[in-house]
Amino acid sequence: MPRSARHRFAEHTGEVQLELAAPSCEELFAEAGRALAELMLGEVPGPGASAPARAVEVHARDRAALLVGWLNELIYLSETSKEVFTRLEVERVDETGVWARVAGVAPEVLKTAVKAATLHGVSVEPSEGGWRASVVLDV
Protein backbone atom coordinates (compact mmCIF):
# COMPACT_ATOMS: atom_id res chain seq x y z
CA MET A 1 0.00 0.00 0.00
CA PRO A 2 1.35 3.51 -0.78
CA ARG A 3 2.13 4.97 2.66
CA SER A 4 1.11 8.47 1.62
CA ALA A 5 -0.59 10.11 -1.33
CA ARG A 6 1.73 11.10 -4.16
CA HIS A 7 1.59 12.30 -7.74
CA ARG A 8 3.84 12.86 -10.71
CA PHE A 9 3.50 14.54 -14.08
CA ALA A 10 4.44 12.02 -16.78
CA GLU A 11 5.67 12.79 -20.30
CA HIS A 12 3.05 13.61 -22.93
CA THR A 13 3.91 15.50 -26.13
CA GLY A 14 1.08 17.99 -26.12
CA GLU A 15 -0.59 17.84 -22.75
CA VAL A 16 0.06 16.84 -19.13
CA GLN A 17 -0.42 13.28 -17.90
CA LEU A 18 -1.03 13.11 -14.17
CA GLU A 19 -0.29 9.87 -12.31
CA LEU A 20 -1.53 9.39 -8.77
CA ALA A 21 -1.26 6.87 -5.93
CA ALA A 22 -2.75 6.97 -2.42
CA PRO A 23 -3.72 4.69 0.47
CA SER A 24 -7.43 5.51 0.03
CA CYS A 25 -9.68 6.73 -2.76
CA GLU A 26 -10.48 9.88 -0.72
CA GLU A 27 -6.77 10.69 -0.43
CA LEU A 28 -6.34 9.93 -4.14
CA PHE A 29 -8.95 12.54 -5.09
CA ALA A 30 -7.49 15.09 -2.66
CA GLU A 31 -4.05 14.47 -4.15
CA ALA A 32 -5.47 15.01 -7.66
CA GLY A 33 -6.73 18.41 -6.51
CA ARG A 34 -3.35 19.30 -4.98
CA ALA A 35 -1.56 18.27 -8.18
CA LEU A 36 -3.92 20.53 -10.15
CA ALA A 37 -3.09 23.40 -7.79
CA GLU A 38 0.65 22.72 -8.18
CA LEU A 39 0.30 22.78 -11.96
CA MET A 40 -1.68 26.03 -11.90
CA LEU A 41 0.67 27.76 -9.45
CA GLY A 42 3.91 26.36 -10.84
CA GLU A 43 5.05 25.29 -7.37
CA VAL A 44 4.03 23.06 -4.51
CA PRO A 45 1.27 25.02 -2.76
CA GLY A 46 2.34 26.53 0.53
CA PRO A 47 0.13 27.41 3.48
CA GLY A 48 -2.18 30.35 3.08
CA ALA A 49 -5.62 28.97 2.49
CA SER A 50 -8.11 29.10 5.32
CA ALA A 51 -9.92 26.01 6.61
CA PRO A 52 -11.79 24.24 3.84
CA ALA A 53 -15.29 25.67 3.85
CA ARG A 54 -16.62 25.46 0.31
CA ALA A 55 -18.60 22.26 -0.17
CA VAL A 56 -18.10 20.48 -3.48
CA GLU A 57 -20.16 17.52 -4.63
CA VAL A 58 -19.74 15.80 -7.98
CA HIS A 59 -21.48 12.80 -9.52
CA ALA A 60 -20.57 10.73 -12.56
CA ARG A 61 -21.37 7.40 -14.15
CA ASP A 62 -18.28 5.57 -12.88
CA ARG A 63 -15.16 6.16 -10.82
CA ALA A 64 -12.94 7.13 -13.79
CA ALA A 65 -15.46 9.69 -15.06
CA LEU A 66 -15.79 10.85 -11.44
CA LEU A 67 -12.09 11.75 -11.23
CA VAL A 68 -12.43 13.70 -14.51
CA GLY A 69 -15.62 15.36 -13.25
CA TRP A 70 -13.98 16.26 -9.90
CA LEU A 71 -11.00 17.91 -11.62
CA ASN A 72 -13.28 19.72 -14.08
CA GLU A 73 -15.36 21.00 -11.17
CA LEU A 74 -12.22 22.42 -9.53
CA ILE A 75 -11.14 23.99 -12.86
CA TYR A 76 -14.56 25.59 -13.29
CA LEU A 77 -14.66 26.88 -9.69
CA SER A 78 -11.09 28.10 -10.00
CA GLU A 79 -11.73 30.10 -13.12
CA THR A 80 -14.98 31.68 -11.94
CA SER A 81 -13.85 32.47 -8.37
CA LYS A 82 -10.21 33.33 -9.41
CA GLU A 83 -8.91 30.94 -6.76
CA VAL A 84 -6.62 27.93 -6.76
CA PHE A 85 -7.74 25.24 -4.32
CA THR A 86 -4.76 24.26 -2.20
CA ARG A 87 -6.57 22.77 0.77
CA LEU A 88 -8.83 19.87 -0.01
CA GLU A 89 -10.63 17.57 2.38
CA VAL A 90 -12.35 14.76 0.56
CA GLU A 91 -14.90 13.33 2.93
CA ARG A 92 -16.22 10.45 0.86
CA VAL A 93 -15.80 8.86 -2.55
CA ASP A 94 -17.92 6.01 -3.84
CA GLU A 95 -18.38 4.53 -7.30
CA THR A 96 -20.33 7.53 -8.64
CA GLY A 97 -19.99 10.40 -6.17
CA VAL A 98 -17.44 12.57 -4.37
CA TRP A 99 -18.13 14.87 -1.39
CA ALA A 100 -15.46 17.35 -0.33
CA ARG A 101 -14.63 20.71 1.20
CA VAL A 102 -12.04 23.00 -0.34
CA ALA A 103 -10.35 26.34 0.25
CA GLY A 104 -8.02 28.27 -1.98
CA VAL A 105 -5.63 31.11 -2.49
CA ALA A 106 -6.01 33.89 -5.04
CA PRO A 107 -2.68 34.25 -6.83
CA GLU A 108 -1.84 37.33 -8.88
CA VAL A 109 -0.68 35.23 -11.83
CA LEU A 110 -1.29 31.61 -12.70
CA LYS A 111 1.57 29.67 -14.22
CA THR A 112 -0.32 27.12 -16.27
CA ALA A 113 -3.71 27.41 -17.88
CA VAL A 114 -5.49 24.10 -17.39
CA LYS A 115 -8.42 23.93 -19.79
CA ALA A 116 -9.93 20.61 -18.71
CA ALA A 117 -9.39 17.05 -17.55
CA THR A 118 -10.03 14.47 -20.28
CA LEU A 119 -11.39 10.92 -20.45
CA HIS A 120 -8.44 9.93 -22.66
CA GLY A 121 -6.92 6.79 -21.12
CA VAL A 122 -8.28 7.71 -17.69
CA SER A 123 -8.11 5.01 -15.05
CA VAL A 124 -8.88 4.77 -11.33
CA GLU A 125 -8.23 1.37 -9.80
CA PRO A 126 -7.32 -0.42 -6.58
CA SER A 127 -3.64 -1.28 -6.36
CA GLU A 128 -1.47 -2.89 -3.70
CA GLY A 129 -4.00 -2.27 -0.98
CA GLY A 130 -4.44 1.36 -2.03
CA TRP A 131 -5.56 3.23 -5.13
CA ARG A 132 -3.88 4.55 -8.23
CA ALA A 133 -5.05 6.68 -11.16
CA SER A 134 -3.94 8.27 -14.40
CA VAL A 135 -5.56 11.21 -16.18
CA VAL A 136 -4.56 13.55 -19.03
CA LEU A 137 -5.11 17.29 -18.59
CA ASP A 138 -5.45 19.68 -21.51
CA VAL A 139 -3.14 22.63 -20.84
Binding site: E15, M40, L119
Partner: protein, 477 residues
Protein backbone atom coordinates in the same frame (compact mmCIF):
# COMPACT_ATOMS: atom_id res chain seq x y z
CA UNK B 1 3.10 1.74 -36.09
CA UNK B 2 5.75 2.33 -38.78
CA UNK B 3 4.98 -0.90 -40.56
CA UNK B 4 1.28 -0.12 -41.09
CA UNK B 5 1.92 3.08 -43.09
CA UNK B 6 2.87 2.76 -46.76
CA UNK B 7 4.65 5.59 -48.47
CA UNK B 8 2.63 6.50 -51.58
CA UNK B 9 4.59 9.60 -52.63
CA UNK B 10 7.42 11.81 -51.36
CA UNK B 11 5.01 13.53 -49.00
CA UNK B 12 2.10 11.13 -48.48
CA UNK B 13 1.71 7.98 -46.42
CA UNK B 14 -1.35 5.77 -46.24
CA UNK B 15 -2.64 3.23 -43.74
CA UNK B 16 -5.23 0.94 -45.42
CA UNK B 17 -8.54 0.47 -43.66
CA UNK B 18 -7.86 -3.23 -43.11
CA UNK B 19 -4.74 -2.40 -41.11
CA UNK B 20 -6.73 -2.55 -37.91
CA UNK B 21 -10.05 -4.03 -36.95
CA UNK B 22 -12.88 -1.54 -36.74
CA UNK B 23 -11.48 1.05 -39.15
CA UNK B 24 -14.14 2.20 -41.63
CA UNK B 25 -11.80 4.29 -43.80
CA UNK B 26 -8.07 4.47 -44.54
CA UNK B 27 -5.80 7.05 -42.93
CA UNK B 28 -3.55 9.38 -44.88
CA UNK B 29 -0.62 11.26 -43.42
CA UNK B 30 0.94 14.24 -45.18
CA UNK B 31 4.64 14.07 -44.25
CA UNK B 32 8.12 13.48 -45.58
CA UNK B 33 10.35 10.78 -44.15
CA UNK B 34 11.83 12.98 -41.43
CA UNK B 35 8.50 14.36 -40.19
CA UNK B 36 7.03 10.85 -40.36
CA UNK B 37 9.80 9.65 -38.07
CA UNK B 38 8.85 12.39 -35.58
CA UNK B 39 5.15 11.56 -35.90
CA UNK B 40 5.89 7.89 -35.18
CA UNK B 41 7.70 8.94 -32.02
CA UNK B 42 4.41 9.32 -30.13
CA UNK B 43 0.94 7.77 -30.30
CA UNK B 44 -0.54 10.13 -32.88
CA UNK B 45 -0.97 7.51 -35.64
CA UNK B 46 -2.70 5.16 -33.20
CA UNK B 47 -5.01 8.04 -32.29
CA UNK B 48 -5.67 8.81 -35.98
CA UNK B 49 -6.60 5.15 -36.58
CA UNK B 50 -8.98 5.32 -33.59
CA UNK B 51 -10.72 8.24 -35.33
CA UNK B 52 -11.11 6.03 -38.44
CA UNK B 53 -13.41 3.78 -36.38
CA UNK B 54 -16.01 6.48 -35.62
CA UNK B 55 -19.53 5.74 -36.91
CA UNK B 56 -20.25 7.57 -40.17
CA UNK B 57 -16.63 8.58 -40.82
CA UNK B 58 -16.31 9.09 -44.57
CA UNK B 59 -13.57 9.00 -47.20
CA UNK B 60 -10.41 8.99 -45.13
CA UNK B 61 -8.93 10.49 -41.99
CA UNK B 62 -5.98 12.79 -42.56
CA UNK B 63 -2.93 13.59 -40.46
CA UNK B 64 -1.06 16.83 -41.12
CA UNK B 65 2.75 17.12 -41.06
CA UNK B 66 2.57 18.94 -37.71
CA UNK B 67 0.54 16.09 -36.17
CA UNK B 68 1.30 15.10 -32.57
CA UNK B 69 -0.34 13.12 -29.81
CA UNK B 70 -3.40 14.70 -28.25
CA UNK B 71 -6.26 13.26 -26.21
CA UNK B 72 -8.70 11.24 -28.34
CA UNK B 73 -8.01 12.90 -31.68
CA UNK B 74 -4.41 13.69 -32.56
CA UNK B 75 -3.58 17.39 -32.85
CA UNK B 76 -3.22 18.01 -36.59
CA UNK B 77 -6.02 15.63 -37.58
CA UNK B 78 -8.92 16.01 -40.02
CA UNK B 79 -11.97 13.73 -40.17
CA UNK B 80 -15.18 13.93 -42.20
CA UNK B 81 -18.43 12.32 -41.11
CA UNK B 82 -21.43 11.96 -43.38
CA UNK B 83 -24.30 14.30 -42.44
CA UNK B 84 -26.84 14.00 -41.02
CA UNK B 85 -26.38 10.69 -39.21
CA UNK B 86 -22.60 10.40 -38.94
CA UNK B 87 -21.26 11.43 -35.54
CA UNK B 88 -19.96 14.71 -34.25
CA UNK B 89 -17.24 14.35 -31.62
CA UNK B 90 -16.37 17.26 -29.30
CA UNK B 91 -12.89 15.74 -28.86
CA UNK B 92 -12.41 16.19 -32.62
CA UNK B 93 -12.62 19.92 -32.13
CA UNK B 94 -10.96 20.18 -28.74
CA UNK B 95 -11.52 22.21 -25.61
CA UNK B 96 -10.35 25.46 -27.19
CA UNK B 97 -13.17 25.73 -29.73
CA UNK B 98 -12.18 27.96 -32.67
CA UNK B 99 -8.72 28.59 -31.46
CA UNK B 100 -7.37 30.40 -34.47
CA UNK B 101 -5.04 32.95 -35.95
CA UNK B 102 -5.61 36.34 -37.53
CA UNK B 103 -3.12 38.56 -39.30
CA UNK B 104 -3.25 42.35 -39.38
CA UNK B 105 -1.10 44.34 -41.82
CA UNK B 106 -0.08 47.98 -41.63
CA UNK B 107 1.04 50.24 -44.48
CA UNK B 108 4.17 51.03 -42.52
CA UNK B 109 7.53 49.31 -42.72
CA UNK B 110 9.34 47.96 -39.71
CA UNK B 111 12.16 50.39 -40.46
CA UNK B 112 9.73 53.31 -40.16
CA UNK B 113 8.62 52.21 -36.71
CA UNK B 114 11.92 50.90 -35.32
CA UNK B 115 12.16 53.83 -32.89
CA UNK B 116 8.77 53.07 -31.34
CA UNK B 117 8.75 49.28 -31.54
CA UNK B 118 9.45 48.74 -27.85
CA UNK B 119 6.82 51.26 -26.69
CA UNK B 120 4.36 49.67 -29.15
CA UNK B 121 4.87 46.19 -27.65
CA UNK B 122 4.83 47.62 -24.14
CA UNK B 123 1.56 49.47 -24.73
CA UNK B 124 0.06 46.32 -26.25
CA UNK B 125 1.02 44.41 -23.11
CA UNK B 126 -0.73 47.06 -20.98
CA UNK B 127 -3.82 47.05 -23.14
CA UNK B 128 -4.33 43.33 -23.67
CA UNK B 129 -5.06 41.05 -20.70
CA UNK B 130 -3.01 37.85 -20.86
CA UNK B 131 -2.85 34.75 -18.73
CA UNK B 132 -5.27 32.15 -17.50
CA UNK B 133 -8.49 33.33 -15.93
CA UNK B 134 -7.65 36.99 -16.50
CA UNK B 135 -10.67 39.10 -17.24
CA UNK B 136 -11.06 41.78 -19.86
CA UNK B 137 -12.62 45.21 -19.75
CA UNK B 138 -15.93 43.99 -21.07
CA UNK B 139 -18.22 42.21 -18.66
CA UNK B 140 -21.36 41.20 -20.49
CA UNK B 141 -24.91 40.79 -19.28
CA UNK B 142 -26.73 37.57 -20.25
CA UNK B 143 -28.51 39.32 -23.12
CA UNK B 144 -25.30 40.91 -24.42
CA UNK B 145 -23.41 37.62 -24.20
CA UNK B 146 -26.19 35.81 -26.09
CA UNK B 147 -26.00 38.40 -28.86
CA UNK B 148 -22.23 37.82 -29.15
CA UNK B 149 -22.73 34.03 -29.14
CA UNK B 150 -25.27 34.14 -31.95
CA UNK B 151 -24.05 37.20 -33.85
CA UNK B 152 -20.28 36.70 -33.63
CA UNK B 153 -18.26 39.35 -35.45
CA UNK B 154 -21.32 40.70 -37.27
CA UNK B 155 -22.65 41.80 -33.87
CA UNK B 156 -19.30 43.00 -32.52
CA UNK B 157 -18.63 45.10 -35.61
CA UNK B 158 -22.17 46.08 -36.59
CA UNK B 159 -23.76 46.77 -33.20
CA UNK B 160 -20.77 47.43 -30.93
CA UNK B 161 -18.68 49.25 -33.53
CA UNK B 162 -15.47 47.35 -32.67
CA UNK B 163 -14.11 47.13 -36.20
CA UNK B 164 -14.92 48.18 -39.75
CA UNK B 165 -17.40 46.50 -42.13
CA UNK B 166 -14.52 45.51 -44.46
CA UNK B 167 -13.20 43.22 -41.71
CA UNK B 168 -16.14 40.82 -42.09
CA UNK B 169 -15.34 39.33 -45.49
CA UNK B 170 -11.77 38.71 -44.33
CA UNK B 171 -12.84 36.37 -41.53
CA UNK B 172 -13.59 32.70 -42.14
CA UNK B 173 -17.39 32.35 -42.36
CA UNK B 174 -17.59 36.15 -41.81
CA UNK B 175 -16.97 35.46 -38.12
CA UNK B 176 -20.42 33.98 -37.56
CA UNK B 177 -21.70 30.43 -37.82
CA UNK B 178 -25.46 30.49 -38.41
CA UNK B 179 -25.95 27.21 -36.50
CA UNK B 180 -25.15 28.94 -33.20
CA UNK B 181 -27.74 28.56 -30.45
CA UNK B 182 -26.97 30.49 -27.27
CA UNK B 183 -29.61 28.48 -25.38
CA UNK B 184 -27.42 25.39 -25.78
CA UNK B 185 -24.46 27.04 -24.04
CA UNK B 186 -24.67 26.12 -20.35
CA UNK B 187 -24.87 28.75 -17.60
CA UNK B 188 -21.46 27.47 -16.40
CA UNK B 189 -19.89 28.10 -19.81
CA UNK B 190 -21.39 31.58 -19.91
CA UNK B 191 -20.11 32.26 -16.41
CA UNK B 192 -16.58 31.31 -17.46
CA UNK B 193 -16.72 33.46 -20.60
CA UNK B 194 -18.64 36.45 -19.33
CA UNK B 195 -15.61 38.64 -18.57
CA UNK B 196 -13.15 37.04 -21.02
CA UNK B 197 -14.08 38.74 -24.28
CA UNK B 198 -10.98 40.63 -25.43
CA UNK B 199 -8.43 38.51 -23.55
CA UNK B 200 -5.53 36.50 -24.93
CA UNK B 201 -5.37 33.70 -22.32
CA UNK B 202 -2.37 31.54 -21.47
CA UNK B 203 -0.81 28.35 -22.82
CA UNK B 204 0.45 28.64 -26.37
CA UNK B 205 -1.61 31.75 -27.12
CA UNK B 206 0.33 34.82 -28.11
CA UNK B 207 0.40 38.06 -30.01
CA UNK B 208 3.35 38.93 -32.21
CA UNK B 209 4.52 42.13 -33.86
CA UNK B 210 6.26 41.07 -37.06
CA UNK B 211 7.86 42.16 -40.30
CA UNK B 212 7.32 40.60 -43.73
CA UNK B 213 10.86 39.32 -44.11
CA UNK B 214 10.57 37.61 -47.50
CA UNK B 215 7.89 37.51 -50.16
CA UNK B 216 7.90 34.03 -51.67
CA UNK B 217 5.16 34.53 -54.28
CA UNK B 218 4.89 38.11 -55.56
CA UNK B 219 1.47 37.76 -57.20
CA UNK B 220 -0.18 36.11 -54.20
CA UNK B 221 1.46 38.57 -51.78
CA UNK B 222 0.05 41.46 -53.83
CA UNK B 223 -3.42 39.92 -53.67
CA UNK B 224 -3.09 39.68 -49.86
CA UNK B 225 -1.73 43.23 -49.60
CA UNK B 226 1.66 42.10 -48.28
CA UNK B 227 5.08 43.56 -49.15
CA UNK B 228 8.63 43.09 -47.87
CA UNK B 229 9.53 45.14 -44.82
CA UNK B 230 5.86 45.57 -43.85
CA UNK B 231 4.83 45.68 -40.19
CA UNK B 232 2.25 43.02 -39.26
CA UNK B 233 0.53 41.81 -36.10
CA UNK B 234 -0.48 38.18 -35.53
CA UNK B 235 -3.10 37.22 -32.92
CA UNK B 236 -3.43 33.59 -31.75
CA UNK B 237 -6.22 32.81 -29.29
CA UNK B 238 -9.65 31.17 -29.05
CA UNK B 239 -12.91 30.91 -27.12
CA UNK B 240 -11.30 30.94 -23.66
CA UNK B 241 -13.08 29.35 -20.70
CA UNK B 242 -16.44 29.49 -22.42
CA UNK B 243 -15.30 27.10 -25.14
CA UNK B 244 -13.51 24.84 -22.65
CA UNK B 245 -16.72 24.41 -20.66
CA UNK B 246 -18.84 23.77 -23.80
CA UNK B 247 -16.52 20.87 -24.63
CA UNK B 248 -16.43 19.60 -21.02
CA UNK B 249 -20.25 19.61 -20.88
CA UNK B 250 -20.63 17.81 -24.22
CA UNK B 251 -18.02 15.11 -23.53
CA UNK B 252 -19.79 14.29 -20.28
CA UNK B 253 -23.23 14.15 -21.93
CA UNK B 254 -22.06 12.12 -24.92
CA UNK B 255 -20.00 9.72 -22.78
CA UNK B 256 -23.24 8.91 -20.96
CA UNK B 257 -25.34 8.52 -24.12
CA UNK B 258 -22.98 6.26 -26.11
CA UNK B 259 -24.82 3.04 -25.30
CA UNK B 260 -28.20 4.51 -26.27
CA UNK B 261 -26.76 5.10 -29.74
CA UNK B 262 -25.09 1.67 -29.84
CA UNK B 263 -21.62 3.22 -30.07
CA UNK B 264 -18.49 1.59 -28.68
CA UNK B 265 -15.18 3.46 -28.80
CA UNK B 266 -11.48 2.63 -28.48
CA UNK B 267 -10.99 5.79 -26.36
CA UNK B 268 -13.59 7.44 -24.11
CA UNK B 269 -12.43 10.94 -25.03
CA UNK B 270 -13.72 10.23 -28.56
CA UNK B 271 -17.22 10.48 -27.04
CA UNK B 272 -19.63 11.36 -29.83
CA UNK B 273 -23.24 11.24 -30.96
CA UNK B 274 -24.96 11.25 -34.35
CA UNK B 275 -25.13 14.83 -35.57
CA UNK B 276 -28.87 14.38 -36.07
CA UNK B 277 -29.45 13.19 -32.46
CA UNK B 278 -30.55 15.59 -29.70
CA UNK B 279 -27.07 15.34 -28.11
CA UNK B 280 -25.42 16.02 -31.49
CA UNK B 281 -27.69 18.96 -32.27
CA UNK B 282 -27.27 20.48 -28.80
CA UNK B 283 -23.49 20.29 -29.05
CA UNK B 284 -23.46 21.63 -32.63
CA UNK B 285 -25.51 24.67 -31.55
CA UNK B 286 -23.25 25.30 -28.54
CA UNK B 287 -20.02 24.68 -30.49
CA UNK B 288 -21.06 27.15 -33.21
CA UNK B 289 -21.87 29.70 -30.48
CA UNK B 290 -18.44 29.16 -28.86
CA UNK B 291 -16.82 29.55 -32.30
CA UNK B 292 -18.63 32.88 -32.70
CA UNK B 293 -17.37 33.92 -29.25
CA UNK B 294 -13.80 33.14 -30.35
CA UNK B 295 -14.11 35.22 -33.51
CA UNK B 296 -15.63 38.02 -31.44
CA UNK B 297 -12.71 37.69 -29.01
CA UNK B 298 -10.14 38.10 -31.79
CA UNK B 299 -12.17 41.03 -33.13
CA UNK B 300 -12.18 42.82 -29.77
CA UNK B 301 -8.43 42.21 -29.48
CA UNK B 302 -8.00 43.63 -33.00
CA UNK B 303 -9.85 46.74 -31.89
CA UNK B 304 -7.47 47.11 -28.93
CA UNK B 305 -4.39 46.59 -31.12
CA UNK B 306 -5.64 49.19 -33.59
CA UNK B 307 -6.24 51.68 -30.79
CA UNK B 308 -2.67 51.21 -29.51
CA UNK B 309 -1.29 51.44 -33.06
CA UNK B 310 -3.18 54.70 -33.60
CA UNK B 311 -1.64 56.13 -30.43
CA UNK B 312 1.92 54.89 -30.79
CA UNK B 313 2.75 54.35 -34.46
CA UNK B 314 3.25 57.15 -36.97
CA UNK B 315 0.14 57.93 -39.06
CA UNK B 316 0.10 58.80 -42.72
CA UNK B 317 -3.59 59.35 -43.19
CA UNK B 318 -4.13 55.76 -44.32
CA UNK B 319 -6.11 53.06 -42.61
CA UNK B 320 -4.06 51.77 -39.69
CA UNK B 321 -4.02 48.00 -39.41
CA UNK B 322 -6.01 46.13 -42.04
CA UNK B 323 -7.25 42.62 -41.45
CA UNK B 324 -5.64 40.19 -43.91
CA UNK B 325 -7.59 37.10 -42.78
CA UNK B 326 -8.77 35.16 -39.72
CA UNK B 327 -8.72 31.37 -39.84
CA UNK B 328 -9.91 28.79 -37.27
CA UNK B 329 -7.93 25.67 -36.41
CA UNK B 330 -10.16 23.83 -33.88
CA UNK B 331 -13.64 23.56 -35.35
CA UNK B 332 -16.28 21.37 -37.01
CA UNK B 333 -18.14 22.72 -40.03
CA UNK B 334 -20.76 21.47 -42.45
CA UNK B 335 -19.22 21.58 -45.92
CA UNK B 336 -19.77 20.07 -49.37
CA UNK B 337 -17.01 17.78 -50.60
CA UNK B 338 -17.21 15.25 -53.46
CA UNK B 339 -20.90 16.03 -53.81
CA UNK B 340 -21.67 15.11 -50.21
CA UNK B 341 -22.68 17.09 -47.15
CA UNK B 342 -20.01 16.35 -44.57
CA UNK B 343 -19.22 17.42 -41.03
CA UNK B 344 -15.52 18.26 -41.24
CA UNK B 345 -13.70 18.04 -37.90
CA UNK B 346 -10.47 20.03 -37.90
CA UNK B 347 -8.43 19.55 -34.73
CA UNK B 348 -5.26 21.58 -35.00
CA UNK B 349 -5.85 21.99 -38.73
CA UNK B 350 -7.10 24.92 -40.79
CA UNK B 351 -9.51 25.17 -43.67
CA UNK B 352 -7.58 25.88 -46.91
CA UNK B 353 -9.94 26.40 -49.85
CA UNK B 354 -8.17 26.57 -53.19
CA UNK B 355 -8.73 29.29 -55.83
CA UNK B 356 -12.27 29.71 -57.15
CA UNK B 357 -14.11 28.40 -54.10
CA UNK B 358 -17.48 30.16 -53.89
CA UNK B 359 -17.18 30.74 -50.13
CA UNK B 360 -14.09 32.90 -50.58
CA UNK B 361 -14.50 36.68 -50.75
CA UNK B 362 -14.01 38.23 -54.21
CA UNK B 363 -10.72 39.68 -53.00
CA UNK B 364 -9.19 36.20 -52.49
CA UNK B 365 -11.22 34.07 -54.92
CA UNK B 366 -8.50 33.95 -57.58
CA UNK B 367 -5.58 33.41 -55.24
CA UNK B 368 -7.06 30.99 -52.67
CA UNK B 369 -7.81 31.21 -48.96
CA UNK B 370 -5.08 32.71 -46.78
CA UNK B 371 -3.62 30.32 -44.19
CA UNK B 372 -1.17 31.27 -41.44
CA UNK B 373 1.37 28.84 -40.02
CA UNK B 374 3.00 30.30 -36.93
CA UNK B 375 6.25 28.68 -35.91
CA UNK B 376 7.14 28.55 -32.27
CA UNK B 377 7.56 31.72 -30.28
CA UNK B 378 10.36 33.82 -31.70
CA UNK B 379 10.61 31.93 -34.99
CA UNK B 380 9.17 32.66 -38.42
CA UNK B 381 5.50 32.55 -39.39
CA UNK B 382 4.52 31.51 -42.91
CA UNK B 383 1.64 32.95 -44.92
CA UNK B 384 0.17 30.46 -47.41
CA UNK B 385 -2.88 30.24 -49.65
CA UNK B 386 -4.95 27.11 -50.21
CA UNK B 387 -4.18 25.25 -53.45
CA UNK B 388 -6.40 23.00 -55.61
CA UNK B 389 -5.08 19.61 -54.42
CA UNK B 390 -6.21 20.34 -50.84
CA UNK B 391 -9.73 19.31 -51.86
CA UNK B 392 -8.72 15.75 -52.83
CA UNK B 393 -6.02 15.19 -50.24
CA UNK B 394 -7.40 16.69 -47.05
CA UNK B 395 -10.99 17.94 -47.44
CA UNK B 396 -9.49 21.37 -48.19
CA UNK B 397 -7.46 21.48 -44.97
CA UNK B 398 -3.91 22.48 -44.13
CA UNK B 399 -1.59 22.29 -41.12
CA UNK B 400 -1.86 24.86 -38.33
CA UNK B 401 1.62 25.30 -36.91
CA UNK B 402 4.99 23.75 -36.43
CA UNK B 403 3.59 21.09 -34.10
CA UNK B 404 5.07 20.14 -30.75
CA UNK B 405 8.05 17.79 -30.79
CA UNK B 406 8.90 17.86 -27.06
CA UNK B 407 6.69 17.72 -23.99
CA UNK B 408 6.57 20.80 -21.81
CA UNK B 409 8.68 19.03 -19.19
CA UNK B 410 11.28 17.99 -21.74
CA UNK B 411 11.43 21.55 -23.08
CA UNK B 412 12.05 22.90 -19.58
CA UNK B 413 14.83 20.37 -19.05
CA UNK B 414 16.58 21.57 -22.22
CA UNK B 415 15.92 25.29 -22.01
CA UNK B 416 16.17 27.82 -19.23
CA UNK B 417 13.57 30.55 -19.54
CA UNK B 418 15.86 33.40 -18.56
CA UNK B 419 18.50 32.25 -21.08
CA UNK B 420 15.89 32.00 -23.83
CA UNK B 421 14.62 35.47 -22.95
CA UNK B 422 18.16 36.84 -23.37
CA UNK B 423 18.60 34.98 -26.67
CA UNK B 424 15.38 36.42 -28.05
CA UNK B 425 16.33 39.89 -26.88
CA UNK B 426 19.76 39.49 -28.49
CA UNK B 427 17.94 38.98 -31.78
CA UNK B 428 16.19 42.31 -31.20
CA UNK B 429 12.89 40.68 -30.20
CA UNK B 430 10.96 42.49 -27.47
CA UNK B 431 9.47 39.87 -25.10
CA UNK B 432 6.60 40.44 -22.70
CA UNK B 433 5.93 37.23 -20.74
CA UNK B 434 5.75 37.25 -16.95
CA UNK B 435 7.02 33.69 -16.42
CA UNK B 436 10.42 32.35 -17.49
CA UNK B 437 9.14 28.79 -16.99
CA UNK B 438 6.25 29.33 -19.36
CA UNK B 439 8.61 30.94 -21.84
CA UNK B 440 10.76 27.78 -21.73
CA UNK B 441 7.75 25.51 -22.34
CA UNK B 442 7.10 27.26 -25.65
CA UNK B 443 10.77 27.42 -26.66
CA UNK B 444 11.61 26.87 -30.34
CA UNK B 445 13.35 23.57 -29.52
CA UNK B 446 9.99 22.16 -28.31
CA UNK B 447 8.54 22.45 -31.81
CA UNK B 448 9.12 20.85 -35.18
CA UNK B 449 10.84 22.83 -37.92
CA UNK B 450 8.08 25.04 -39.34
CA UNK B 451 9.94 25.45 -42.67
CA UNK B 452 9.89 21.70 -43.21
CA UNK B 453 6.19 21.47 -42.31
CA UNK B 454 5.41 24.24 -44.81
CA UNK B 455 7.65 22.66 -47.48
CA UNK B 456 5.69 19.41 -47.18
CA UNK B 457 2.22 20.96 -47.57
CA UNK B 458 3.49 22.97 -50.55
CA UNK B 459 4.99 19.88 -52.20
CA UNK B 460 1.77 17.96 -51.53
CA UNK B 461 -0.14 20.68 -53.43
CA UNK B 462 -2.30 21.59 -50.42
CA UNK B 463 -1.08 25.18 -50.31
CA UNK B 464 1.27 27.74 -51.89
CA UNK B 465 3.79 29.65 -49.82
CA UNK B 466 3.27 33.42 -50.04
CA UNK B 467 5.51 35.10 -47.47
CA UNK B 468 7.66 34.57 -44.40
CA UNK B 469 7.29 36.84 -41.36
CA UNK B 470 9.93 37.56 -38.74
CA UNK B 471 8.92 38.42 -35.16
CA UNK B 472 10.05 41.66 -33.50
CA UNK B 473 7.78 41.62 -30.47
CA UNK B 474 6.17 38.76 -28.53
CA UNK B 475 3.36 39.10 -26.04
CA UNK B 476 2.57 35.86 -24.26
CA UNK B 477 0.14 34.86 -21.57
Amino acid sequence: MASVATRISDVLYEVPKDARRGMHVPARIVADAELMAQIEHDRSIEQLLNVATLPGVWGRVVGMPDMHEGYGFPVGGVAATLAPDGVISPGGIGFDINCGVRLLASRLTRAEVSGVLEPFVHELSRSIPTGYGRHGRLSLTDEELDRVLEGGCEHVIGALGLGVPEDLERIESRGRLPGADARKVSPRAKERGRDQLGTLGGGNHFLEVQEVETVLDAGAARALGLFEGQLTVLIHTGSRGLGHQVCTDAVRTMDASLSSHGITLPDRQLACAPLSSPEGQDYFGAMCAAANFAWANRQVLTHRVRAVADRVLPRRGEPGLELVYDVAHNIAKLEEHAGRRLCIHRKGATRAFGPGHPELPARYREVGQPVFIPGSMGTRTFVLVGAPASEDISFASCCHGAGRALSRHAAKRQVEGHVLRKELEAQGIVVRCPSNAELAEEAPVAYKDVSRVVDVVVRAGIARAVARLRPWGVLKG
